[in-house]
Amino acid sequence: MPHPFAIWLSGRDFKMFQEYVFNVDHGYLEGLVRGFRSGILDRTDYLNMVQCETIEDLKLQLAATDYGNFLQNEPSPIAVTLIDEKLKNHLVVQFRYMRAHSVPDLSTFLDYITYSYMIDNIILLITGTLHQRQISELRSKCHPLGSFAEMESINIAATPAELYSAVLVDTPLGPYFKNCISETDLDELNIEIIRNALYKAYLEDFYKLCQSMGGETAEVMGRLLAFEADRRAFIITINSFGTELTQDDREKLYPTCGKLYPDGLIRLAKCEDYEQVKAVAECYPEYANVFSGAGTNPGEKTLEDKFYEREVELNVQSFMHQFHFGVFYSYMKLKEQESRNIIWIAECIAQRQRAKIDNYIPIF
């Protein structure tokens, strides 16, 4: 339960005062998440990890970090997938702890963070069943934060409408799904469209929620979600080249809570090749930077990595503010990036691809 004083204040609609009472309800968790943040691996950790010869070395190295003995009960040899699972588990435990100790509005906010995992899980399951995989096999691949009770019965649905009416209608994703019902059957392209449509609806809803919370949260989350929305718009555009997706359909998938909205999105919708997308990005200094260094040649970073770098930068910045929920979102994103980094390094070690091992994205 929120503190009565906080309720009284919020009942009075004193949005401007919320920093004063922030710590009454959320101070502990904010302190906690900032403590967790200090456990994020830094450059020296990565430098040490990169020197590792085997996965065993990596295990030893990770034992010296905040992860501690999270692999100590695993018999060697350790598979990379196992590390991935354990890393995920580590984060899930932290998140669940925070969720369990949160009160509204923070609990609502944290729930919203899980929705993106739910979308991923749904798409994973649909794609899996499309390829005739067993549900039990797919089950282990789902992200634990995004699991919900109806999730596994998803394979009964043959059309998006059925998916909606039978499975998703009661879940928080129900409202997001309404726009996708028109699609006729589930094939690769439609799944992709559903994913992006869901994300669009989700991002816009999340954005709206954060704005309604006001204060620092609105400011910090506004920036983060705008970036996320714009990134999706760029990626959708680039990925749609050479597919059957029409420009109109494409435009419908762009989230409208970003900085590109509305002019940039209109221009993006008309793009036909990568150069034109780049031209659109030139108009926005922060995206111009992302595009300028990106490329597929050796020695250049991929556009995806450049976006990740920018994301990390933004998320690190959100810790500079206080009394807002953005730190929780940022922590999750940074931790995910860290997992990706560790997995990348582990894979490089396991597959003896040492040349590429430095392509991780350091956080601090």
Binding site: Q51, Q61, P75, A149, E150, S153, N155, I156, D170
Partner: protein
């Protein structure tokens, strides 16, 4: 030299260990536990060290052992504690590894077997429930179908589904029950079991996905069933789904799969069901028997493991620690040996040497291991050899800061001063006795109690000797105060002579007399206050402590307050003086002779001139008898005037003669004698003292920085002409010599490590010598000391305050609680006393009193007195001499590692 007075003398030694005997040497050293290794590879990351593979093998074994421990814990088998097991030879490691491998595999196999059996059993049990429940469902259905002939169809569902449900099901139900009449084969059903928490969503999804065309019956299984994989107990629900058509069947099956419901084949006719039920019951009985034998087998195996596992654990831990240590060594390729550096106490060098010899012999190596003394500018670690008695006191000091290497250790004196100061605040013989007895039981049963009783009680057990001394000292101070549960003991008989007649009315003082130094006794009955003559006062005092007659005196509080306050000041000043004197021993030991002249002497003069004089005044005033009370001087005013009026004002100056207070405003009498001459003499002496004290301040402030500056200048000149013989015109032992010794690096390097690090460090780095810095440093020290003497003296008044609070609280408790019981409760209620009621009342009141005495007076007051005592030691006492900038000697010791006390 007492080992507790200064920390052990340490040296840095270099060990050359042959690579084949290194292992056994380190093992011997680990058993000995007197050597602290230095990490020579701190720049090498963990996985690049030499013995990382061995460490990893140990980790793997550790993991297996942990697995086995977990299994033991699950079954609840106690492990047998083994004695001290020596670490095995490296060859034995392979045996251990294979043994663990086999054991782990075996236990895992049994576990999988057990799990399969349990799963089968669970399936059967669930099937049994399904058969049982479906039986009733079908029976109901049949009863209804016979009943509803000619009646409104759909009655079956009425009992289960409310009327507000959608129409589809009703219609379906109607259709089905119609069909049920004609042919039962037309609709199908599946039966299964689902976890209770999934049921609600399961039902909802079924409803939505099949558009209400599935009819569900359910019944909970009352007892929770065990999940074979996790071992958790889960509540489950039996359900039967009725539907029509194959399309629905696949769909329903998919949903069931999605919700992880287990489906079972259930025969359709009743005869078959009954047959199956019997078969299932039999199989369950069989399975249970098999499961029991498997479990017995697993328990016997685990019991065998439990006998040995502690031995293994010790071995693995030790081997791991050995390799961990060896990872800190340097490898000398040319000579095939490992080079280690370690701190070791000089006193134990013999033992270390023999351990090395033993290690070399064990390994069968012919080349001996060599221990070389090294010289280093690094500070050695601080190592005190403590026993179980002194350990607690050493911990008190360590909690403030680990002593700098070889400085005077306050723990030695804390052994006595701490319990004593505690007792001054906790002065009650009764409470002290309880405390001492409590501690004594802990001391007597220490072996049995060690490591038991949780964190809270563990703290008490660790401090049992401190508590014992605190208790004993409290009995002593309690006897002095003559307080036993706030009552006095009349052991020797009061020496107060009450027959003395009061003939001089001038001496009658009001009971709120503010000059309590003179024994004014106000007897309760006579209502007169009697002042004794000098002769009476000194002829026959009470032999020990306070005369018990004070217990009935009205001005008892005034007297004890004055007595305790003055005593606290006296004790405090003695304590601080002692601290300053200990500083002298530090200066001598570290050869900081300048500090004696520039710090110690002015400090002690300053303290003595102001507060030493006060102590003399206090004691004199206790001894001297004042015929005329008006001539008894106020010490406080004397001390204040000593500074403000530069001595003592010889005449009364009273601004407002109307008030009585002005008698005490100014003190015209000497403490020693009421004559005017004495007053004058005291005045001049005090002026003299003030001058000395004030002169001490610039002395402390200036002498040392100026001296250092002059030395530095001299030194610099010397530095430009290096060729000139170094030691000729310098004092042999000051900081400068060290500087030169350091640079030439040839003679007396050992001397350097003992030398004044502070000065040495400042002068070693010439460029960093800054006069202003040193001056500011010295200024801070001076101000801190001068203000400190005053505020610290005031701080010692807490002795009085706490003692007062303790005495008052216990008196209040006595008067308000137990005394009511003694005075007879029944007399207040009835005209005559009723023994029965009084007995009960006294019983209840005593219990109340005892609980409060233990809870408030012993535990809470005890804790607060403990904390204040701690503070007096840490701040008031130790800041006079204690640096506390050292680091603790952490030897490589198996004992510490195994007991988990190693500080990492």
């Amino acid at each position: 030299m007492g080992s507790l007075f200064r920390s052990e003398e340490m040296i840095l030694a270099q060990l050359f260990l042959q690579s084949d005997s290194a292992y056994s040497c380190v093992r011997e050293l680990g058993e000995l536990g007197k050597v602290q290794f230095r990490d020579l590879n701190s720049d090498v990351s963990a996985f690049q060290r030499k013995f990382v593979n061995e460490v990893r093998r140990c980790d793997e074994m550790d993991r297996k052992l942990r697995f086995l421990f977990n299994e033991l814990e699950k079954v609840g088998i106690e492990t047998r504690k083994a004695g001290n097991i020596t670490a095995p030879d490296p060859q034995e490691l392979i045996d251990l590894e294979s043994k663990f491998e086999v054991l782990e595999a075996e236990v895992k196999e049994i576990n999988t077997n057990k799990e399969t059996l349990k799963r089968n059993l669970l399936d059967l049990i669930e099937l049994q429930f399904i058969l049982l429940q479906t039986q009733s469902f079908f029976q109901e259905a049949e009863q209804y179908s016979t009943l509803i002939t000619g009646q409104e169809p759909g009655g079956i569902e009425r009992g289960v589904i409310s009327d507000t449900e959608e129409k589809g099901l009703l219609e379906e139900g109607r259709a089905r029950s119609d069909m049920g009449l004609t042919s039962q084969t037309n609709f199908m059903f599946v039966a299964g079991v689902i976890a209770q928490e999934r049921l609600a969503t399961f039902e909802r999804v079924l409803w939505r996905a099949c558009r209400g065309n599935v009819f569900m019956r359910q019944a909970p299984i009352i007892d929770p069933l065990e999940d074979p994989t996790t071992g958790a107990m889960v509540f489950k629900v039996v359900f039967v789904l009725f539907f029509q058509g194959d399309a629905l069947r696949t769909r329903v099956r998919k949903i069931c799969e999605g919700f992880r419901a287990t489906l079972y084949q259930c025969p359709e006719t009743q005869a078959e069901r009954q047959e199956m039920s019997i078969a299932v019951t039999n199989r369950i009985a069989d399975l249970r028997a098999v499961l029991r034998t498997t479990e017995d087998h697993s328990v016997t195996q685990l019991e065998e493991i439990a006998q040995e596992i502690d031995v293994w654990q010790q071995k693995v831990t030790k081997v791991k620690a050995i390799y961990h240590t060896m990872n800190m060594f340097n490898l000398d390729m040319a000579q095939h040996c490992l080079v280690a550096e370690c701190w070791c106490p000089v006193e134990d060098l013999e033992e270390i040497q023999t351990a090395l010899v033993r290690g070399t012999e064990e390994s069968g190596s012919t080349v001996p291991s060599i221990l070389n003394r090294m010289h280093t500018p690094d500070d050695p670690p601080t190592y005190f050899k403590t026993n179980k008695f002194t350990k607690g006191f050493q911990n008190i000091v360590d909690a403030y800061g680990i002593a700098t290497y070889q400085e005077v250790n306050p723990a030695l004196y804390t052994v006595i001063t701490f319990p004593f100061l505690f007792a001054v605040m906790f002065g009650d013989a009764g409470h002290g006795l309880i405390m001492a007895l409590f501690a004594l039981t802990m001391v007597i049963f220490e072996k049995r109690m060690q490591g038991s009783g949780g964190e809270m009680f563990g703290t008490f057990i660790n401090g049992r000797y401190i508590i014992l001394l605190m208790g004993i000292f409290s009995i002593y101070t309690g006897m002095i105060y003559n307080d036993v549960f706030s009552k006095s003991l009349n052991i020797f008989g009061s020496n107060w002579n009450a027959s003395y007649t009061n003939t001089t009315p001038d001496y009658v003082f009001p009971s709120d007399c503010s000059c309590p130094d003179v024994c004014v006794l106000h007897l309760e009955e006579s209502e007169t206050t009697i002042l004794p003559t000098q002769a009476q006062l000194f002829q026959d005092p009470y032999p020990f402590g306070l005369d018990p007659i004070w217990q009935v005196a009205e001005n008892k509080l005034l007297f004890t307050n004055s007595y305790k306050m003055k005593m606290s000041i006296v004790l405090g000043i003695i304590h601080m003086l002692f601290g300053v004197i200990l500083g002298f021993f530090n200066h001598i030991h570290f050869k900081r002779y300048i500090n004696i002249v520039a710090e110690f002497i002015p400090q002690i003069l300053f303290l003595l001139c102001i507060f030493g004089w006060l102590v003399i005044l206090i004691i004199s005033k206790w001894i001297i008898f004042y015929e005329d009370l008006n001539t008894a001087p106020s010490l406080l005013i004397t001390l204040i005037n000593m500074f403000l009026k530069f001595g003592m004002s010889p005449s009364v100056t009273c601004d407002d003669p109307g008030t009585d207070d002005c008698d005490f405003d100014d003190n015209q009498y000497s403490v020693f004698s009421p004559t005017a001459g004495a007053a004058d003499a005291q005045k001049f002496f005090q002026i003299f003292l003030v001058i000395i004290a004030v002169a001490c301040i610039p002395w402390m402030l200036l002498v040392k920085p100026i001296y250092l500056y002059v030395q530095y200048k001299k030194n610099k000149k010397l530095g430009y002409s290096r060729q000139i013989d170094t030691g000729s015109d310098l004092e042999p032992n000051d900081a400068e010599t060290e500087y030169i010794v350091h640079h030439e690096d040839d003679e007396q390097p050992k001397h350097k490590s003992k030398g004044d690090e502070e000065l040495g460090g400042q002068i070693q780095e010439e460029e960093h010598f800054e006069f202003s810095e040193i001056f500011v440093h010295q200024a801070i020290h001076t101000i801190e000391y001068c203000l400190g003497t005053i505020s610290n003296t005031a701080s010692y008044l807490r002795l009085w305050a706490l003692s007062l609070a303790h005495a008052e609280l216990s008196e209040v408790l006595w008067n308000m609680v137990l005394k009511i019981g003694f005075s007879g409760v029944s007399t207040k209620l009835f005209t005559s006393p009723v023994v029965f009621i009084d007995g009960i009342a006294i019983f209840a009141l005593f219990a109340f009193w005892a609980v409060l005495t233990i809870g408030i007076l012993l535990i809470m007051e005890g804790l607060s007195a403990f904390l204040h005592g701690l503070r007096l030691h840490w701040v008031e006492f130790q800041n006079k001499f204690y640096d506390g900038a050292g680091y603790k000697f952490a030897p490589f010791s198996f004992e510490a590692i195994l007991s988990g006390k190693e500080d990492e």
